[in-house]
């Protein structure tokens, strides 16, 4: 390719935005589900003992 590609910050923003969005989204989903699973396990533990 000849010459320099001028500008293109839109592409940069898109790449970073989608990447961070995916990372953040997945991190949130994971931790929410983990908290729910741990809470459920605790409830079960309480009923077993109680």
């Amino acid at each position: 390719m000849e010459g320099v590609i001028v500008g293109g910050w839109g592409y940069v923003a898109a790449a970073w935005g989608i990447s961070l969005g995916l990372l953040l989204g997945w991190a949130v989903v994971l931790n929410v589900r983990l908290a729910a699973a741990r809470a459920a396990a605790q409830d079960e533990g309480a009923t077993d003992a109680g």
Binding site: V4, V12, A15, W16, S19, L30, R33, L34, A37
Partner: protein, 228 residues
Amino acid sequence: MDREHWLGIAGLLLLIGGSVFGLLIAPPEKYMGDVGRILYIHVPTAWNALLIATAAFVIAIGSLVKRSPKWDAALHGTLATTALLTVMLLIQGAIWAKPTWGVYWDWDPRLTTSAIMGVSFAGLLALRASLDDPERRATWTAVGTIIAYVDVPIVYMSIKWWRTLHQNFSTPETVNEMMVIPLRINAFAMLFIGIWLSVRMARLSLAERGAAVPTAPASADPLIAGRA
């Protein structure tokens, strides 16, 4: 606080630092201009996708040998993280390709192999979801991971040969010192974040091990459904 959070925080800080460096401080690339900055997130993502896939392969062998729920959970965690990183790298690659190659997709050997690896690993996650018995799920996921991983270099070589008959594209090599720094920082950043995500997923997998809610009709076959 779970210990992996230290890694996660470190990874996040490194990512912020590396990205600021790459986006604002490093000079624009010779031919690609500012679009080249996408590589500061794309290359680290790609490195770690392959690295964590390799970890999944090793863990898969361990899971077959050890037959323990923790190893299976670790496998699940690394598989999920690899799939996520692969999706990310494919999107990043396509966005980078449009201004530089003119098209979103070009059958570049590395990107194409990544796409196939992504589908393979996603298929393994789908296999997991279709199996109820935890031991069988662990064994078959491990077997599938070993096979999928061994395939990666074969796929790469065959696509490379297949491609050289048509075109010859060189991927850009960054040489500038100032460009190596954000690459290295972000490489570690994505590694730490990747490990953090894998451990979280592994914990989730372990917690949900017996309580999986099937999203398809149960199999009548005791081989799949597990002994009562």
